[in-house]
């Protein structure tokens, strides 16, 4: 399955994976800076990626646990998923996985916690 990763600098990295490959591990094997702090055990959101439009719907819906963690991912978007929960299928041919740019903003709505 041919997919493309887009890193934080905007560089496109085409990658050829196999059906069943885990997107987080695939990215890491190809030197992309996708962190998997909890090692794919659904305990963090460091493998957060944006999935290209047509392919997003071809993924199985996230289980509640993934949604709960995505809620904590900085710069959450409609097409956000956790990379460690995406397994390659033929339907994902040509999919683009974009790494979020997070550097300074940690909240999706720009909110900074204020003391009260």
């Amino acid at each position: 399955v041919n997919v493309v990763f887009v890193d934080r600098t905007g560089r496109h990295v085409p990658v050829r994976g196999r059906v069943g490959d885990n997107v987080l591990h695939l990215a890491q094997r190809h030197g992309l800076e996708l962190e998997g702090a909890c090692e794919a055990s659904l305990a963090c959101s460091t493998c957060h990626v944006y999935v290209s439009a047509p392919h997003l719907d071809r993924l199985p819906a996230p289980e509640e646990r993934e949604d709960d963690l995505l809620d904590q991912a900085p710069l959450l978007q409609e097409n956000s998923r956790l990379g460690c929960q995406i397994l390659l299928t033929p339907a994902l041919e040509g999919a683009q996985f974009v790494l979020p740019k997070v550097t300074r903003n940690f909240y999706v709505d720009g909110h900074i916690p204020k003391p009260h």
Binding site: E39, C44, P74, P113, H116
Partner: protein, 455 residues
């Protein structure tokens, strides 16, 4: 370039990692005041959340790598000063986190039975300075002041069935204390409302589903919120909807049965601000907390809690204040904003001190999970890399790095712990835990750690 990082928690390690990855010539030394590394990953993350600790594997790889060295048992600010580090290295990154907690500032705060959540978490996680806490768990009701994830962690550890805790890396002595615990009701009390809770959905869901317990949420706290949640960002909306569902929906027959039979319960109380911890008749222990009822002014995260004048008393024998961690100033050479409890900085560059940086909680304040700290550390590392690139840092002289620090430490009678020393301690902990079916049995006495490695 020779750089050093002060603090071996996630902030320290992620900053080191990022610098090492993006600069092939850099050498990074990580200093840590305890003999053992990893900071809050070891001492903060709850024992029943082992997957969150997997990040230790990544940090271990970094520590073992050629251009990185770990020096434990070195207290920066005492054993070696920041000024001395700045002479030995081209750049110094402060990532020493938040070792203290905010205080309530109310009468009765020092009564027996009142503890900071930070100390309680340190106690069950084997943090040496909290090993003798001996929290009194002989009452049936505990009040946790605060609505963050730490408050939920504490509630969950207090109420978890023992068979779940027994297989974790919770310390043996805490397990023994919890086995004798009489606590069967925990209230999490916050000054503001449901829309201002700071805990996150995964942790709340876990608490709602905790075996042997029944969630007690007052429907009156949640009626009328349906409109308020329509326009809030997704994370806040899903979190509020979960609380509303738990408070307002009738559970199915099976769930209702299970809940009715549950021996323990926990609940959320809102718009109550602690005014005074009330003493027992002998004046020594906590017997309850007098609360000021509040109303909310403003919306969302900036809503303020204003006392209405009405008061309420909540009975309890155990009070845990979970109102935030707090950083402390490290060294007179480092500017510190006592008001905000952070080192004044701009993208991690310490204000007014070139070559000095900060990352993690001491930079931004003590909130956020590992991913927040990770991103923040990368941000600081970027600043360091930019400054290296732009010639902002004085690279005209080579620096001796640990070579210079070593003789200073020696002259002060301090013997650093190496990473392979830590691995001996690690192996010993794992071996001790094996017999009990635990991932490890933490050693809580620093002297014992040092003896084990022959220091």
């Amino acid at each position: 370039p020779r750089l050093c990082v002060v603090g071996s928690g996630p902030a320290g390690f992620y900053t080191a990692q990022h610098i090492l990855k993006h600069h092939g010539g850099a050498r990074v030394d990580i200093y840590e005041k305890l003999p053992v590394p990893f900071g809050l990953v070891r001492f903060g993350v709850a024992p029943d959340h082992p997957e969150v600790k997997n990040v230790i594997n990544s940090f271990t790889q970094t520590a073992r790598s050629e251009r990185c060295s770990y020096y434990g048992n070195v207290t920066v600010g005492r054993d070696v000063t920041v000024a001395e580090l700045r002479q030995a290295y081209h750049a110094v990154v402060l990532s020493y986190g938040a070792e203290d907690n905010r205080v309530l500032g109310i009468p009765g705060e020092n009564l027996d039975g009142v503890y900071s959540a930070r100390a309680f978490v340190g106690w069950y996680n084997g943090l040496p300075e909290n090993r003798d806490l001996k929290p009194d768990l002989s009452c049936d009701t505990a009040l946790i002041l605060g609505h963050g994830n730490v408050a939920l962690d504490v509630a969950r550890i207090l109420l978890s069935p023992l068979h779940l805790l027994r297989k974790t890396d919770i310390t043996d002595s805490s397990l023994a204390a919890l086995a004798c615990s009489k606590v069967k009701r925990v209230w999490l009390v916050g000054r503001r409302g449901p829309l201002q809770v700071a805990f996150t959905i995964k942790e709340l869901r876990e608490m709602i589903n905790l075996a042997g317990t029944r969630p007690v949420l007052n429907p009156a706290d949640f009626t009328g919120l349906e409109n308020a949640v329509k326009d809030v960002p997704r994370p806040r909306r899903r979190l509020t909807e979960l609380m509303m569902k738990t408070a307002l929906e009738k559970p199915g027959e099976k769930t209702a049965e299970v809940q009715a039979a549950a021996p323990r319960e926990w609940g959320l109380k809102f718009q109550r601000s602690p005014h005074e911890v009330l003493p027992t008749t002998d004046g020594r222990r906590a017997r309850g907390v007098r609360m000021a009822l509040t109303r909310l002014e403003g919306l969302g995260d900036s809503a303020k809690a204003i006392p209405t004048g009405e008061m309420e008393e909540l009975e309890c024998g155990l009070v845990l204040s979970s109102i935030g961690y707090r950083s402390l100033p490290l060294d007179p050479a480092v500017p510190f904003d006592t008001q905000r409890g952070v080192i004044p900085n701009s993208s991690g560059r310490v204000e007014g001190v070139p070559g000095l940086y900060c990352s993690g909680w001491v930079k931004r304040g003590p909130t956020g999970v590992i991913i927040t700290t990770m991103n923040d550390s990368f941000d600081t590392a970027q600043s360091v890399l930019e400054d290296l690139q732009a010639g902002v840092l004085d690279m005209s002289t080579s620096r001796e790095g640990f070579g210079a620090v070593e003789s200073i430490l020696h002259s002060r009678g301090v013997r650093p712990v190496s990473f392979s020393d830590w691995e001996k301690i690690d192996a010993a902990e794992v071996a001790r835990g094996k017999a009990a079916g635990k991932p490890r049995e933490k050693i809580v006495d620093p002297q014992e750690m040092l003896q084990l490695i022959g220091h």
